[in-house]
């Protein structure tokens, strides 16, 4: 079935790059996505005006994220929304959501060089690994 997410936001902190026991790179980070303020939208009155969305990237994309993404950078993410359940410290079953990225694009300027970075797009290219939608 279809599950596609498109997000643009800023990194809340530096990405965390790790390797699974089998050596697959995994990058985790969160981006802050501002809500477009709608004063008339009653359902948003009580809610905060930014969503912090967890992102996870695998393999080559994970390495690229770990290398180039920094706290505060604007970034575009394409992926799918995944709900995972886990057992909390108190032994209770919890669910957490994350967006599994299959595409990442850095936006804005490179912070160090000052030159326009243009569009550095890194797509997840390893197909058939069980993580990627086959379309």
């Amino acid at each position: 079935m279809y599950n596609k997410v498109f997000l643009i936001g800023n990194l809340v902190r530096d990405p965390e790059l790790r390797y699974t026991p089998s050596g697959i790179p995994v990058a985790k980070f969160a981006i802050a996505v501002n809500r477009i303020s709608k004063k008339s939208a009653d359902e948003e009155k009580s809610a905060q005006d930014v969503d912090f969305i967890n992102i996870v990237a695998w393999r080559r994309l994970a390495e690229v994220c770990g290398e180039f993404l920094k706290k505060g950078r604007p970034v575009a993410i394409e992926g799918r929304l995944q709900i995972r359940s886990y057992t909390g410290k108190d032994g209770q079953q919890r669910t957490m959501s994350e967006v599994v990225a299959d595409n990442m694009q850095m936006l804005g300027r490179k912070p160090d060089s000052g030159e326009a970075s243009g569009s550095h797009e890194f797509a997840h290219t390893e197909e058939g690994t069980g993580e990627i939608a086959p379309f």
Partner: protein
């Protein structure tokens, strides 16, 4: 910074939608969508994603969606926190629907023709808000 938050889901309803009115009298519908993961190698997965709809769209969801129906939902991801009975802070992720389309064969489920008109009316009213969104978006494009 122009931010973007869009999601498109196709899945089946895990249960009938729950509808209620807020204290302000605003219709609200909640339901859970079962979305199969696109797994290539054997392992099957499913994500149960909570959807919330408001106003006219909520009424339509409550009226026509039933457990097992196939639906396409467009909206945005929202994370919000609340305090549970033990006073602990919990986070929930839900998709706030802007648009919903039923994908089942409607005739086989006793779907009435008049309902089709209602279905198109609902999402259109939500779409009007989206136009306002887009103008806001363009207004603060920094690059």
């Amino acid at each position: 910074m122009a931010n973007l938050n869009r999601i498109i889901l196709v899945g089946r309803l895990a249960a009938d939608p729950e509808t209620r009115m807020t204290v302000e009298g605003l219709p609200m519908a909640k339901f859970r969508l079962a979305v199969n993961r696109p797994m290539a190698g054997g392992e099957n997965g499913v994500d149960f994603i909570d959807i919330v709809a408001w106003r006219r769209l909520a009424e339509i969801c409550g009226q026509y969606l039933k457990k097992g129906r196939l639906a396409l939902v467009e909206g945005r991801i929202q994370n919000r926190s609340f305090e549970d009975q033990t006073g602990q802070r919990r986070w929930v992720t839900e998709v706030v629907a802007k648009n919903m389309t039923m994908l089942d064969d409607q005739r086989s489920k006793g779907f009435e023709p008049s309902a089709a008109a209602a279905e198109t009316r609902g999402p259109v009213s939500e779409a009007e808000e989206e136009v306002v969104d887009d103008s806001d978006l363009e207004g603060d494009l920094p690059f």
